[in-house]
């Protein structure tokens, strides 16, 4: 429980306070970062390479046990991670990958439903190598969502996909998040992707939050004036000059 400006208690899915992480003693990757994510909120995290995006995500995922640092992190019970590579176990068929570690007699049915949701019905018995890159990533999404996460962490999940597949995956992810309402932290280097997907875009610089903007768009299309304004704002903050962004 946290308190907002009016003194009311509000619930948060993620609370990070004064988070420090460093890989060597010369300089920190995260330098006193604060961040709150509300339940069901979709936050995109952008920033140049080396600004600590992945470090933050791995800290929230609990995957940074060997990294030096301090700070306070609160995350929900159920956290799922989607990586840039699908990380499907190559020796397990798609359905077995999705339900890996799930308990209960209905695990297989839940897995089948999840696969159907991501449009992979009928591929339950396929080996991972038989799927295309986009399909593998959809299976990885199914594996995450079948666990009904309260927080979904995604580290450039579409980074390795081609542009067309990526557009389809954006639509799918928005649909899935609308249906399941997890809090989402999506790391991306793509400003457009961040604006298309997120309720809020956070820009990380030198290990702290530099910009935190709300995306209030009725139509998430590039021709929208607000879209263009946000895009310009964020690209300015990232230091991309006029020439390069055309």
């Amino acid at each position: 429980m946290a308190t907002d400006a009016r003194g009311l208690t509000t619930e948060v899915a993620v609370r990070v306070r004064d988070l420090h992480r460093s890989f060597n003693k010369d300089g920190g990757v995260l330098n006193g970062l604060d961040l709150d994510i509300a339940p069901g909120e979709f936050v995109a995290l952008i920033g140049r390479s080396g600004t600590g995006k992945s470090t933050l995500l791995r800290a929230l995922a609990g995957l940074d046990r060997d990294v030096a640092g301090h700070g306070r992190i609160t995350v929900p019970e159920q956290v799922s991670v989607v990586f840039q590579d699908s990380r499907l176990l190559p020796w397990k068929r798609v359905l077995d990958n999705v339900v890996l570690g799930l308990r209960g007699p209905d695990a297989a049915d839940r897995g089948r439903n999840a696969l159907e949701e991501v449009g992979l019905a009928g591929r339950e018995r396929a080996w991972p190598y038989q799927l295309s890159g986009g399909e593998q990533q959809r299976a990885a999404l199914a594996r995450s969502l079948v666990r009904q996460p309260q927080l979904l962490l995604a580290d450039e999940p579409f980074g390795a996909l081609d542009a067309l597949t990526r557009i389809r995956m954006h639509a799918l992810l928005r649909k899935l998040c609308a249906a399941h309402r997890p809090a989402v932290l999506l790391v991306t280097h793509d400003v457009d992707e961040a604006i298309v997907l997120a309720d809020r875009v956070i820009l990380l610089d030198a290990g702290v939050v530099r910009t935190d903007v709300r995306v209030e768009l009725t139509n998430r299309v590039r021709s929208d004036a607000e879209f263009a304004r946000l895009r310009t704002l964020l690209l300015d903050e990232l230091g991309v000059d006029e020439e390069a962004r055309r």
């Binding site: 995922a61 990586f83 990380r87 397990k92 570690g101």
Partner: protein
Amino acid sequence: MTATLHTPEPQVLDRVDERVVRRRLGPGRRIRFAFWIGPALVLALWSAGSATGVITPAILSAPWDVVVAFEDQWVNHDLLGNILSSLQRAAIGLTLGVVTGAVLAVVSGLSRIGESLIDGPIQIKRSVPTLAVIPLFIAWFGIDQEMKIITIALISLVPIYIHTHNGLRSIDGKYAELAETIGIGRGEFVRHVVLPGALPGFLLGMRFAVTASLLGLVVVEQYNAVAGIGHMITLAEQYGQTDVIVVGLVIYGVFGYCADSAVRLTGRRVLAWRQTLEG
């Protein structure tokens, strides 16, 4: 052509199929009975050599003489009993060795303490020739079945351990990371990630272990055996029966080859998830 276009019969022969096909660099498609072609060729050469007199009986008995000796052993000297006795020894010893080797490899592969306790002694055991240890084993376990099975188990344990350990440690660390994020326990991690991931290594170890167990068999059956192929060879040696020795060798060869083929076929089945040149 215009007239035939509407007939239901497809003009398959006229269909154009022009392709640009690259030269294949991998081994290509499988040949039927590929497992038997090489050995059959060796047998053919042996027969031809013996028939033409290039291979004299003093060097190597002719295949047909071996067949006669085989029949003689089968009818008059309980060859089947010898074979079963040897197979039983090898199977029990191999099973013990494989199970122990795999368990030790997993323990040593997944725990640093296990590694420091297990890995060294096994490497030391590996560099000590088994033949040299047998006198000691005789002192410890006597000259009966127990000593023989333990020797075979120890010989086959080493390759299983080495290859399973190596296979396990070669598993991509990102899968362990994934397993951590989906919150499975150590038992499930071993079952779903470690064992299947180490399986290719284990199967390679298995191929070595199978032949190692036969090697152990030959050695231990020279000691106080009353039955077994090694026993039969030892007797034949004393009576100068080269044809009987060759019968024994052929049986060892067939054992080894069949067992190896079985492991490879199993491997092809259970490793269907891989896309390799094995095909």
